[in-house]
Symmetry: C2
Subunit: 259 residues, 2 copies
């Protein structure tokens, strides 16, 4: 593994649950030598990717990542375009809408919108990592991904997030067939209990999936009429976002609603 990869890998230990990490913790988490971590973090700090804070000198992500993100947005304005789409989506459905994007082999939530209509909502965090087999968004992406990608995603032992999570690769592949025929993926309580999610894939310029839009609602509020609304809105939103970010749907994507 190259030195740069090691350094960048250190950044991946920052999550929503761990905003600050001390040198020793980082050493343990990464398995690298302490002196190595120290030097790598020093270089990352020099570049503004992390900063040291407080009397315990713990590291947290630095302002340089904001600059890069602003530039990425200027080049590929997915987040800014999606904001309006997410707002409309959650407004039309009355439920929580969110966007997730592929980052290499991982699916990351990067934007969300809450509806004020109901007191209970499905809550979201940005930068959370979703499982492919357990979420509607994950299935929506997998259904139109390369075979190799699907194989990789279903290779390791699949985590059972809830008692209803399907962890059998064969069963999941069968579900993907259905998603392909339908155009929309659905998941009831397989990632978080009591959450009913729908998701539609978003495509890039090469007609391959780059992420998914999803609507997440409490199971108790899902009615046939609500389900129809969500599916229709989701279809429109995914088409909209794909087009406005320069993407194209693959020809095999079902144009009209199936069963």
């Amino acid at each position: 593994m190259g030195t740069v990869t090691k350094a960048l890998n250190l950044l991946s230990f920052f999550t929503q649950n761990r905003h600050e990490i001390g040198l020793s913790d980082l050493t343990r988490l990464s398995g690298l030598n302490k002196a190595t971590v120290y030097r790598l973090m020093g270089e990352l700090q020099e570049a503004g990717f992390v900063e040291q804070v407080g009397p315990d000198r713990a590291y947290r992500l630095g302002p340089e990542v904001l600059r890069l993100a602003a530039l990425r947005e200027a080049a590929v304005p997915i987040l800014s375009v999606s904001r309006g789409i997410l707002d409309r989506l959650c407004d039309a459905t009355g439920e929580t809408a969110h966007l997730s994007l592929l980052r290499g082999t991982q699916l990351v939530t990067l934007g969300h919108a809450y509806s004020p209509r109901h007191a209970t909502r499905v809550m979201m965090d940005d930068a959370e990592i979703l499982s492919f087999h357990g979420t509607a968004s994950g299935l929506a992406v997998l259904a139109w991904a390369d075979d190799a990608f699907v194989d990789a995603a279903l290779a390791g032992p699949l985590a059972a997030h809830t008692t209803d999570t399907v962890t059998d690769p064969g069963a999941i592949r069968a579900m993907l067939d259905q998603v392909r025929a339908d155009g929309i993926a659905e998941s009831v309580g397989r990632f978080e209990a009591d959450v009913h999610s729908h998701a539609a894939p978003v495509f890039g310029a090469d007609q391959r999936p780059i992420g998914a839009l999803a609507v997440a609602a409490p199971v108790s509020r899902m009615t046939p009429a609500q389900r129809a609304t969500i599916r229709a809105e989701l279809r429109a939103a995914a088409r909209d976002l794909t087009q406005r970010t320069g993407g194209f749907f693959p020809p095999e994507y079902p144009q009209e609603a199936a069963a």
Copy 2:
């Protein structure tokens, strides 16, 4: 220079004017060997920091930077907090408001808001790099920065952005004294012609400046009344943002409006 620093330095060649860079261009820009750039970019790509696009395989920033930025925002929500403050600021003044943050030795614009009140506006780009000596924001930060920092910022030959730009370090230091006494920095046509800017510093938990809020208006619209409005609003906005992000004003900051 360490390998990691070299790799991260490659990312700094992406700007608002250069969203995509080919291998050869990047080699020329960085002065590194082509094979080195190729390998480093390969590692950056592997980590999702850049992606290759199009038939010419040009590099552009990748989705990983969005994930990191979302995490940084979760840890230190300056951008989300500032959004409302910027909106209010530009609403109250009728002019363009923007936020810039220190990134090591550079000052970077990271958020802005336009007022619909006038047809002509001062336009902004996010992730643009501001000069310390030429902008109101830069002066506001310098006025409360370490002596060493000021020395470094005024060391090199200072660019003359317009015919009115002050490039004499002595004259700039005199201006800093005035800014310190006043609490607000002002710049008329020294970065962009015909732009009259006011800026107030924003402070971090250690009472040192972390950036600045600014209001930029066409010179032609600046009246004494407007100037008073901007200065009062800016003062309130900077205090608000500093407090809400866990920062503190240094005791020597002028609490009440001076001349």
